[in-house]
Amino acid sequence: MTAKNKSLFEFSPAPESTGHIQLKKQYDLFINGKWTKPKSGKYFKTINPANEKLIAEVAEAGEADVNMAVSAAEKAFKGWSSLSGKERGKYLFRLARLIQEKARELAVIETLDGGKPIRESRDIDIPLAAAHFFYHAGWADKLEYAFPNRKTEPLGVAGQIIPWNFPLLMAAWKLAPALACGNTVVLKPAETTPLTALKLAEIIEEAEFPPGVVNIVTGAGATGAAIVNHHKVNKIAFTGSTEVGKIIQRATANTDKKLTLELGGKAANIIFEDAAINQAVEGIINGIYFNQGHVCCAGSRLFVQESVHDEVIQKLKARIENLMVGDPMDKNTDIGAINSKSQLETINKYLKIGKDEGLELFQSSCSVPKKGFWCKPTIFTGAAQSNRIVQEEIFGPVLAVQTFRTISEVVQKANNTPYGLSAGVWTDKGSKIFNLTQQLRAGVIWANTFNKFDPTSPFGGYKESGFGREGGVHGLESYLKLND
């Protein structure tokens, strides 16, 4: 324990039980409505990053398996796309309801596999995933209203590759619009977090989806590449790092494949002196520390108007001390485990860079468990646009703080980045909000709030944060041909 005096009303452990969940020791690939062994016979391990223990072995899909999956999706496309929208929607409504029924089990597995706190899985990830299916289910028979003067047609087979930071939710973001619009899918979850996608496959079975409509192939980079390069895939949707996004764009350049990318970010979170400061501080915390900072739209660059800098930093530091870092299965944990050893190494690399760049580092004085991958919430003050930790995406609970004096200065600095996914503006003045939202070059702008998501609200970036939108009416376009 730490050296301070015993504090009052300290949290006792409040672990969520891992009882009443069903996890197999080994998972195969879900292709054409059947659990299929990988042709290579290879399996890889998925561990719990909080204690490094093995949870399950998962099949590694090779090129032959991907071929089989795409083939199944292609065959299933005719039937699926010619179903009436009404009937197609009913399948998706079933999915939404089943996710709600199995919410607790999914939340526990999400936390065990990925390290995010159970409270986040339970209160945010799983409910939002169900909501995404529910919203998109209703579009299936209403597409004629979504695009004026255009008849809609599905694209065919969609290849979808999703990241490890919101595993089930990202699966929902990809599957729901694709399926609602009449496409069939081959989905690859991230290799460190495959389990909830596999549980979703079981739910898809339970919902009696026609075989081949959804295929889940697990694996790492090579599996993803096989999907991207398959000539029978009509559409690629990728969420992940900007680096890999560029690789995919090059790979699909000489094809007819439609592409949407949702990549990295380095969002500016801007606090003006006339903000509701206490709520702004809470918003900063929400923007960078929850989900361990593993959020593409995280508010990782804090811009504080110089006149209120000291007040904000004082309150930030006090607030960080209240954040609980620890066992993700404990219902009181705010910040869980870093998703993997390699991600922790990346974060630590940036912590060193920040220190070497001469910035002042402040970290919470909390303790962290011995086993597993952990990073305490961190603030670097005195940062500038020229610092590497301000320019590069860290993807961890690390905040860089810069000051500014005027609106034009902060707009210039906020936009001075190749990224453009999101931004935050904190001010009590309405006309200032709209001024900033007009000038900030980002696909999602949160005013007096942060990290809010809704299936009806389009999400996606400008510039190197990717292109295409997910959610809302605008998000449907990625999965349709719009014909005259």
């Binding site: 009404k86 409504f93 028979d141 707009v411 006309s431 200032k432 709209f434 001024n435 007009q438 009806t456």
Partner: protein
């Protein structure tokens, strides 16, 4: 010995409860050996009070919540298929017709469930005004809607009329088909089971002719939806509603009962448009004066 059946009592539905008509009157729909409440103007008056009191909370719910409730209505109805089919048969439909009607009705509830969280996106706009203002138009529910269900249908018609009103955040008082009232009461039971807050839907059985004059004059009703083709009635409604400028909408039963009964425009027509302006200061922008 054969077992004596417990016969169902058909009551009306007001404020989340099932009272009898305060008038104590009843009537028998033609060809059906059942006593159905002959609702009075006072029942209607009470229903308006209940509808008004429930409306703002209902409109204040998230669209997602309303959407889930409408879907639940479909779920509960699916579970009560047999009951609805037998009631439809009792009122003169063949088994095939009855099955078609219950299928169409359940699917229609699912259809409108899926509009709750989308119609705003279709019909709202951000308007590019010439001045430095952020200007947006959104839809807001009118409030309390009184309606008459199509006479020719016991279930699909009244379901459509109710779904289109409440999906858009209104509360509703509906007068059921006079000749085919039975399913409307069972529908009320389904709504009551589906987390629809009391007062959001109120269903009265009885005579349209008797009730319409009181409905159209009621000062606390925001809109009246009439299903039927009687031009004389429609013109009179338009005239009498002028007292509080309540909006009159009229549809033929044929339209409501066909595939045309599924459209977001029914929702839109029970919503008002609200437009808001807010300045956008131009500071730090290219060409700004500061």
């Amino acid at each position: 010995m054969s077992r004596l059946e417990i016969k169902k009592t058909y009551k009306i539905y007001i404020g989340g409860k099932f009272p009898r008509t305060e008038s104590g009157r009843f009537y028998n729909p033609k060809g059906v050996d059942v006593n159905v409440c002959l609702s009075s103007r006072k029942d209607f008056r009470n229903a308006v009070v209940a509808a008004r009191s429930a409306q703002s909370e209902w409109a204040g719910r998230s669209a997602y919540n309303r959407s889930q409730i409408l879907y639940r209505i479909a779920e509960i109805m699916e579970g009560r298929r047999a009951q609805f089919i037998s009631e439809l048969e009792l009122q003169g439909l063949t088994k095939k017709q009855a099955e078609e009607e219950i299928n169409a009705t359940i699917d229609r509830w699912v259809y409108y469930a899926g509009w709750c969280d989308k119609y705003q996106q279709i019909f709202s706009s951000v308007n590019p005004v010439a001045s430095n203002h952020f200007n947006f138009s959104i839809l807001e529910p009118m409030g309390v809607v009184a309606s008459t269900a199509p006479e020719e249908s016991s279930l699909l018609g009244i379901s459509t009329i109710i779904a289109t009103a409440i999906a858009g955040g209104n509360s509703v008082i509906t007068i059921a088909s006079e000749s085919l009232p039975l399913c409307s009461v069972t529908l009320a039971e389904v709504l009551n089971d589906s987390d629809v807050p009391g007062g959001v839907v109120n269903i009265l059985t009885g005579s349209k002719d008797e009730l319409l004059p009181h409905i159209v004059q009621h000062m606390d009703v925001n809109a009246l939806v009439y299903c039927g083709s009687d031009k004389k009635v429609i013109n009179e409604l338009k005239e009498k509603s002028a007292e509080n400028l309540k909006r009159i909408l009229h549809y033929t039963s044929g339209k409501i009962l066909s595939e045309d009964g599924e459209s977001p425009y029914y929702l839109k027509s029970l919503n008002e448009v609200k437009t808001t302006w807010h300045p956008i200061e131009k500071v730090g922008a290219a060409g700004s004066s500061y």
